[in-house]
């Protein structure tokens, strides 16, 4: 048995890290639940339950200590991110399938905690949106706050999925407008009249994303994440959306709209800051964040899917090892260090 130096250790653990990430998500979840209803809490429960179950099963199969790894909290973080990115009234099996895929394929096939090259939550989102595009696009209108029982009925498939649910998200509306072409619909005009489409400070999604921002800043203040990736992400979004908006404001939405809609804030502070699948060098983080922001904008505005954050993150995930290698910081006593 070894007891190697150092004999003194700082009080830190993986579960502490994960718990703080979960805590930072709480404001966002609270606002979400207040706006859309308790359905989101149900989804969170479904995802967490599935994640822990899948995790336990795999750990069992691989003969790893159950208690140790179940309590590290990483599966719960993944589950929460999945629940928060999926439509709140998605059927239970959709969330469960996504979570299962994330935990089993994206995480444990690579050896589990700390070894997955792709962000499991984003893999889940991408898989589901490719496989079930319709279900993944049914976002409830924010004004429509169904009672808990109705929401449960919809989630568990006991009630028909009413058309009223499938209100388009602000991003959808904007994209449709863009696709229809110039002159047909004026994006700015479209967004102006509908406060549920995230008109700033109305009663819309911007409150949720704002709460995520708050949680993210707290994480940064706790030194769990660094400023590089989120800042670069948001900067990239502002730059490209701002540029296009100034160029043709009637076709493109404002930077503020883009920052506050979809998964932008969640992505910037909770997803691209995942150190396992992201970059780890300071310059690498900047490139990672910037690339993700750029791709997210391109995919969400010009691509075929409602939101681009998931694809952007996956695309940057697959570039991360290379970026890391090419951006090794200089080491002590060396002018420039690159392996």
């Amino acid at each position: 048995m070894f007891a190697p130096a150092p004999f003194l250790l700082k009080d830190a653990s993986v579960s502490q890290v994960m718990t703080q990430v979960c805590l930072a998500l709480i404001p966002g979840i609270a606002v979400y639940a207040w706006l859309v209803g308790p359905a989101i809490l149900v989804q969170l429960a479904i995802a967490s339950f599935t994640a822990l179950l899948a995790e336990a099963a795999i750990l069992r199969l691989r003969d790893k200590p159950l208690a140790l790894f179940l309590s590290d909290g990483s599966a719960v973080v993944t589950a929460w991110l999945i629940a928060l990115t999926f439509p709140p009234l998605a059927p239970w099996w959709l969330v469960a399938t996504g979570t299962l895929f994330a935990i089993v394929v994206a995480k444990h096939l690579y050896g589990g905690l700390g070894q997955n090259p792709f962000n499991p939550a984003m893999v889940a989102f991408a898989v589901c949106i490719v496989a079930f595009p319709a279900l993944m696009s049914q976002w409830p209108s924010i004004g429509l706050k169904l009672p808990l029982l109705d929401q449960l009925n919809i989630i568990f498939g006991l009630a028909p999925r009413v058309d009223a649910l499938s209100g388009a998200t602000p991003l959808d509306a904007m994209k449709t407008a863009l696709k229809l072409g110039e002159g047909q619909v004026n994006v700015a005009h479209l967004l102006e009249n509908q406060d549920i489409y995230g008109n700033f400070a109305g009663r819309g999604w911007e409150w949720v994303t704002g709460a995520y921002l708050l949680g993210g800043l707290w994480l940064w203040q706790r030194k769990l994440i660094t400023w590089h990736a989120p800042l670069a992400f948001l900067a990239a979004m502002v730059l490209i959306s701002g540029g296009l908006w100034l160029y043709r404001p009637e076709s493109f939405a404002s930077p503020l709209f883009h920052l506050l809609s979809g998964g932008a804030m969640l992505g910037a502070f909770f997803i691209i800051t995942d150190p396992v699948s992201g970059c780890t060098t300071p310059r690498g983080k900047l490139i990672f964040g910037f690339g993700a922001g750029l791709l997210a904008y391109i995919v969400r505005v010009f691509g075929g899917y409602p939101d681009g954050v998931a694809f952007a993150v996956l695309l940057m995930n697959l570039s991360a090892p290379l970026i890391d290698r090419l951006t090794q910081p200089r080491i002590f006593g060396m002018k420039e260090g690159r392996p």
Binding site: A5, L8, V276, F332, G333, G337, P339
Partner: protein, 570 residues
């Protein structure tokens, strides 16, 4: 006065626990029952024993003679009888043994005739060999022979001489007490180093958590009217690492690949070394004792002046360890190691003994996978990427670890300290490093074997050729004889050609042999030249080895409480 201090990247602030042992003055440890003096105590060649079993030795008498340039002599710590020259466990994480001289003290503690050296009349070369003969080595941890560091690099002017009094590791206070009580002698020792190296500046760097020591040093510097600067440096582990201290005091960064800091015009000595050098020159006392901190799970933590060779368990008993003590850490809690055998002796580099107990150092939580959070990279004073090093060390991909500069790691333990997954990172790096060294050794051996094999093949060829030549000559002789006979019989010119024709062959063979011999000579020459090359390299390699040894000396393997496995098995 120095106005500007620099910062190094990373570093950690563990609780210092220095007040446990820095209150009481240094006491002289009583004579132990026996002294086990390892011959190999410093980097470099192992000294040759010059006493035999049964000899009576006096305190300060030479018992091991320096072997080669990079080696320092060993002396009897007290008077007594040599009872054994045998293998004994070394204070080393491996628990392996090495040659030791065991002395049974006679209790009289009788000094050999000694007195101050005639310092004024000594040339620098004299001083170097004097320090070597008096066994002065670096007391900070690495144990590099001091005279080796005093032979300045002639190509680089020495800008700064730094006396390392930072003592950044928690628990250790031996330098602190030494400075408080014997500041004047430290300053005098520093003056010797200054005279040798002729630096532009002399800086004594002390961590700012030792105000009394700083005051004492300042007083001594003023009293002796030396132009030395005592600089308080911010307390941040590992500010006492040589390269970190150089960075803080001068702003210079010494690359990991650079063998000696002297190449950057800086040289660093530990305070204890300066003190020991002065004791040798000013009093004629070889290095036979040192100040050791006894602390940790003990009731009376304090510093003792202990003889080299005192068994650790006997020494630690002076501090009355608590009954739940389950091991001894030699060195600090960050870089020290649990000694595998508690009867191992104190050596010149043992600065601290910490009584280990599960209460003081709780068993580590089970190791989790790395989540690449980067805490280690933020803490690394050498700005490495420990998590990448870990990833590749774990997979035994040693080529990659070298790409990520594993040999720049100073094994300070900052990364392990902050790791939320409680990965024994340093342990992985040590593993990778020693595997790489082993591989280098194997490669060298295989290259040598190849050369020897090729030479043997060549020799066999040559022998075969020689044999063939001899046979050919014999045949030619025979043919000549026959021809002569024939000529005698027949006469005429035809016969004269025959031996000539026969002689052709041996001539060619001889020529061939000559060529072969020439090739052999050339090859031998080439090999000789190569051998010489490696000879020349040796001191430099020795430098490298020095660094390696230093890290090794500061490393730890041992038995540990089994609790860390318990929680892993469900």
């Amino acid at each position: 006065m120095l106005s500007q201090l620099f910062k190094f990247h990373g570093g950690v602030k563990p609780a210092s626990h220095k007040d446990l042992s820095n209150q009481a003055p240094i006491v002289t440890a009583p004579l132990p029952s026996r002294l086990i003096v390892p011959l190999h105590q410093s980097i470099g060649g192992t000294p040759r024993p010059v006493v035999a079993v049964g000899d009576r030795v006096l305190k300060g008498q030479l018992i091991g003679e320096a072997d080669g340039w990079l080696s320092a002599a060993i002396h009897a710590p007290t008077s007594g009888t040599v009872v054994e020259i045998a293998m004994h466990t070394r204070p080393h994480p491996s628990g392996l043994s090495s040659q030791c001289v065991v002395i049974e003290p006679d209790g009289r503690d009788e000094w050999i005739a000694h007195g101050p050296a005639d310092y004024a009349a000594m040339t620098p070369a004299d001083i170097c060999s004097y320090l070597q003969r008096y066994g002065i080595v670096g007391l900070g941890g690495a144990g590099f022979p001091t005279h080796g560091k005093l032979t300045a690099n002639p190509k680089v002017a020495m800008a700064e001489l730094i006396i390392n009094a930072a003592e950044c590791e928690p628990y250790i206070t031996c330098d602190d007490r030494l400075m408080r009580e014997r500041a004047e002698e430290i300053v005098r020792g520093t003056a010797i180093f200054r005279d040798m190296l002729k630096p532009q500046k002399v800086i004594i760097g002390v961590e700012d958590n030792k105000p009394e020591a700083i005051a004492a040093l300042c007083a001594a510097v003023t009293a002796l009217a030396e132009p030395f600067t005592v600089v308080p440096v911010p307390a941040l582990y590992p500010a006492g690492g040589a390269k970190q201290l150089i960075r803080v005091l001068t702003g210079k960064e010494v690359p990991g690949a650079m063998r000696s800091t002297a190449d950057m015009g800086v040289q660093v000595f530990n305070v204890g070394t300066a003190y020991a050098a002065w004791r040798a020159i000013g009093h004629g006392e070889p290095l036979i004792s040192r100040v050791v901190t006894l602390t940790g799970n003990v009731r009376q933590a304090h510093n003792v002046e202990a003889l080299i060779g005192t068994p650790m368990d006997e020494l630690l008993r002076l501090a009355s360890p608590n009954p739940d003590t389950d091991g001894i850490i030699m060195g600090g809690p960050m870089m020290g190691f649990l000694v595998p055998d508690e009867t191992a002796p104190i050596v010149k580099t043992s600065n601290c003994l910490i009584a280990h107990s599960a209460r003081l150092f709780p068993p580590k939580a089970p190791e989790m996978p790395c989540i690449r959070c980067g805490a280690c990279a933020r803490a690394c004073p050498h700005e490495l990427q420990p998590f990448e090093l870990y990833w590749h060390s774990r997979a035994k991909d040693f080529g990659k670890t070298q790409q990520y500069h594993i040999f720049d790691c100073i094994e300070c333990g900052c990364c392990s300290f902050v790791c939320p997954s409680r990965i024994p990172l340093v342990q992985y790096f040590r593993f990778a490093k020693s595997e790489i060294w082993a591989r280098e050794r194997e490669k060298k051996a295989s290259e040598e074997a190849k050369q020897r094999f090729e030479f043997k093949q060549f020799r066999e060829e040559r022998e075969k050729a020689d044999k063939a030549e001899k046979l050919a000559k014999a045949a030619a002789a025979q043919a000549a004889k026959k021809a002569a006979e024939a000529a005698a019989a027949a006469g005429g010119t035809v016969a004269a050609e025959a031996p000539a024709a026969a002689g052709d062959d041996p001539a060619a063979a001889a020529k061939k042999a000559a060529i072969a011999a020439a090739m052999a000579r050339a090859k031998a020459q080439r090999e000789a030249v190569q051998a010489k090359n490696t000879d020349e390299l040796t001191p430099q390699q020795a430098h490298e080895m020095a660094a390696i040894e230093a890290r090794r000396a500061a490393a730890g393997v041992s038995e540990a409480p089994a609790a860390s496995t318990d929680s892993r098995t469900e």
